[in-house]
């Protein structure tokens, strides 16, 4: 057998894409079937009860709970703003007074003399669903949401964080294998989708957040940097709900790795066009990868639907090694030995020989390579 199937990601210049936009709880749908919607059009809306924030004022002021009503600067039913002083103790001879401020905005709902605890009720939370994908509403799900359809250029990333956003595409790196550094990001990139090349640094993402970029798309990222950005160690690849100020999409993997040339070229071609991106990733049965959707205007539909969802390994097929010790290296299939071989780890597996760009020929398990497009 000189062929083998290996997975890849969807990268298509033009394809029909449908987006299901539904509310978590029943509400009202704001658009009709056949409507044209923009990325930020609100298609459905509802309200939820505000959050309640308890605050133990007695503990904070080191006062007796019974004295709290006298120490309160606000009464029950009053509106409070976050950071606003709401209670102050008497101090010692009028000195050393300490204050306690509201941890959240809302209405002061209750003051307890027994525990010294107060409750602040936040305002009702509007839950809105935006169109996300500009296009046509092709179906209305009553009280739930809509289905939107459009012709798009679709690029799937391997991994992302952050939710849905949109903006025009701008290229920050001049080449697909160049690292995306903080210095390459400028004020003009506000609200834009910044496309880098190889690995993106935490500083670069920090800078992008500073200038208010909508999203960063690049080839790779260091796990340590990801941890720094998220503030925690990501456990399971189920993302999309992070609130980090922008969306980050990685197209290739972790570590120093260049963006696939085809992906880079496609993005470069569509540079300046408005795109919808979603960092949500779910790597499980029913896998969900982050996506970049760039609507193709009616007249532009020229390129046929293409995809590289899975391909066939043959001699000469360009591949990338996706596991150490040769992680990220690119080469072509040099041979596909039939019999399983003993690996360095001691286990047996079917392998292939890769002729690397450097000219070196190495043996790797077939499970550890991925097809790439040139």
């Amino acid at each position: 057998m000189a062929k083998a199937y290996t997975p890849g990601l969807k990268v298509a210049a033009s394809t029909t894409h449908q987006a299901h936009r539904v509310l978590p709880i029943p509400g009202t749908v704001q658009v009709k079937q056949g409507d044209q919607v923009e990325a930020d059009t609100i298609v459905a809306e509802t309200f939820m009860d505000g959050d309640i924030t308890p605050l133990n004022v007695a503990n904070l002021l080191s006062a007796q709970p019974g004295d709290i009503p006298q120490l309160m600067l606000k009464g029950e039913g009053d509106r409070v703003e976050q950071g606003e002083p709401i209670a102050r103790n008497k101090g010692v001879f009028g000195m050393f007074k300490s204050e306690c401020t509201a941890p959240a905005s809302g209405t002061l709902e209750a003051i307890s003399k027994a525990t010294g605890q107060i409750m602040i009720r936040g305002k009702s939370i509007p839950v809105q669903v935006k169109a996300y994908l500009p296009g046509t509403v092709i179906e209305v799900l009553p009280e739930e949401g809509v289905v939107i359809e459009n012709q798009v250029t679709l690029i799937q990333g391997i991994f992302g964080v952050g939710g849905e956003t949109s903006g025009p595409i701008t290229m920050a790196c001049p080449a697909h294998d160049q690292r995306l550094e903080a210095g390459m990001i400028n004020e003009a990139m506000r609200g834009m989708i910044v496309v880098g090349g190889a690995r993106v640094t935490a500083e670069a993402i920090g800078r992008a957040r500073e200038v208010g970029a909508a999203a960063v798309v690049s080839g790779g990222i260091d796990d340590a940097d990801l941890k720094e950005i998220l503030g925690y160690d990501l456990g399971v690849a189920i993302t999309g709900t992070e609130r980090i100020g922008l969306t980050v999409i990685i197209t290739e993997g972790f570590g120093d790795i260049a963006m696939a040339r085809r992906t880079y070229e496609l993005l470069k071609e569509r540079s300046g066009d408005s795109a919808s991106v979603n960092g949500a990733t779910q790597i499980r049965a029913g896998v969900m990868r982050p996506e970049i959707l760039i609507p193709v205007a009616g007249s532009q539909v020229s390129a046929p639907e293409t995809s590289t969802e899975s391909g066939v390994l043959e001699l000469g097929t360009p591949i990338r090694v996706i596991r150490d010790p040769y992680f990220g290296l690119i080469g072509t299939v040099a041979s596909l030995p039939e019999a399983p071989q003993v690996l360095g780890s001691g286990s047996k597996s079917r392998v292939l020989e890769v002729s690397l760009e450097s000219g070196e020929v190495v043996t790797v398990p077939r499970a550890n390579v991925e097809l790439i497009e040139t």
Partner: protein, 455 residues
């Protein structure tokens, strides 16, 4: 006890004369009585808690080998009528207190009731003021080599005069010395023998303050998990699954009792859990103030659990102040409604076993907490979990999570450790002393026993 009697002066005088004659005769026959000591002086012992006078004198001129020792005598000159009255009242109070304790411990009757019974008993048998002796009384005989004596056991507010006489080796007595000036063995503003207590107090207070400050500064305070507290979820869960109510009894004492206060804190936790599970919690109280406090606590628990709507103040109500009336009501309610979880947190007396047994018979998970030692065995036997004494207060601190409470708990632990240390040292020393019979150790043991333990 000798009493001066004025009526038969003549025969008495005759007798006295006779006696003197006889004694003179005897002295001339055998040997002369020893000389009395001289320069007698008495001073109130400084830096003490009162009741001690220091008596000093110069040795008798009689050679030491002819002396058996000195006898010290004291005469009580009495006190002012006001003081007398005060003391009588104090005495009566003490007795009443003793009696109250007896009723309290022996019969498990609540303190109010016990006090009332004691008062009735006292009225029926009023305390009679004791008439004090006013003649010379011997305080003791000491060796002839000593020239000072510490008179102890005197009354703090009375005046005393002292005298000393020598006792010859043939038991003959010398003349008494001229009595001293009256001395009042009053209490100094600081009792030096209580110094160890002061030090311990300072150490513990400092530890408490230190830990409070540390706790406020955010140092994590670890409290051992208390099975009874962990079981709150289980008990409330049981009530929820069985669709029955939770019964919470906050003791039968008023808010001035620390246990009631701790019970209210625990109630906050239980009712918050109940609010989260949306279970019904019923709190009958035997004091109106406790009812108010309980309502406030439960309400705020429901608020912080985010279920203010589920709070029903009618389930927290006052029953009666009467100890057994309250118990009768609660037991009746338990048999009728069969709560799935019962909590007894506070000060309990004779009702403890009645309540716990009733709860057990209706199949409830029961969690008790009390610091009344006499009721603990009953709770342990009849309940699923019991917070024992200190645990109960620790639970309160743990639940409230207040740095002040946690810190003071930790600080008190230092005190307990100190006490434990002294006990161990004392036991070891006493054991070694008993084996070796060393007198140096004996002093140390006595010091520990009398001064440290005594203070």
């Amino acid at each position: 006890m000798l009493q001066m009697k004025k009526r038969n002066t003549l025969p008495a005088l005759a007798c006295a004369t006779f006696a003197v004659l006889v004694s003179l005769l005897a002295a001339s026959v055998e040997a002369a009585p020893p000389e009395p000591p001289t320069n007698l002086a008495a001073i109130d012992k400084p830096w003490d808690g009162g009741g001690v006078v220091f008596v000093t004198w110069d040795a008798s001129t009689t050679p030491i080998d002819q002396l058996q020792g000195y006898e010290i005598l004291a005469k009580d000159l009495g006190q002012t009528p006001v003081e007398l009255a005060d003391q009588t009242a104090e005495q009566a109070d003490l007795e009443a207190k003793d009696q109250t304790e007896t009723i309290l411990e022996g019969e498990g009757v609540a303190p109010q009731e016990a006090r009332q019974r004691a008062r009735i008993a006292e009225e029926a048998d009023p305390a009679v003021p004791v008439v004090e002796p006013t003649t010379w009384q011997s305080l003791g005989i000491i060796s002839a080599t000593e020239t000072s004596y510490e008179a102890t056991g005197l009354e703090k507010d009375r005046q005393y005069i002292f005298t000393v006489r020598s006792i010859g080796s043939d038991k003959s007595l010398s003349m008494m010395t001229t009595p001293t000036e009256p001395v009042v063995p009053e209490a100094a503003w600081f009792n030096l023998s209580k110094l160890p207590l002061l030090i311990a107090l300072c150490v513990i207070s400092f530890a408490v303050l230190l830990f409070v400050v540390l706790a406020r500064g955010g140092m994590p305070m670890n409290i051992r998990t208390i099975a009874g507290l962990k079981a709150v979820d289980e008990a409330v869960g049981r009530a929820t699954e069985m669709g029955r109510s939770i019964l919470y009894i906050n003791g039968i004492q008023d808010m001035d009792d620390l246990q009631t206060v701790a019970g209210v804190t625990v109630l906050g936790h239980v009712s918050k859990t109940a609010a989260e599970y949306d279970a019904k919690i019923e709190v009958p109280t035997s004091r109106s103030l406790v009812m108010t406090a309980a309502r406030e606590t439960v309400q705020s628990s429901y608020f912080s659990a985010g279920r203010p709507d589920a709070y029903n103040p009618d389930l927290i109500y006052y029953v009666t102040d009467e100890q057994f009336g309250f118990v009768a009501y609660v037991s009746g309610m338990m048999t009728r409604e069969k709560p799935a979880a019962c909590f007894y947190m506070g000060s309990f007396f004779a009702e403890s076993l009645i309540l716990a047994e009733t709860g057990n018979s209706v199949g409830a998970i029961q969690i008790a907490g009390t610091a009344n030692p006499s009721q603990l065995p009953f709770f342990v036997a009849a309940c699923d979990y019991t917070l024992i004494g200190e645990e109960f207060f620790a639970a309160s601190a743990y639940l409230s999570g207040q740095p002040d409470q946690l810190g003071s708990l930790k600080g008190q632990d230092i005190g307990k450790m100190l006490a434990g240390l002294f006990i161990i040292v004392g036991v070891v020393l006493a054991t070694i002393q008993a084996i070796t019979g060393s007198s140096g150790l004996e002093d140390a043991v006595n010091y520990l026993k009398e001064v440290i333990l005594g203070s």
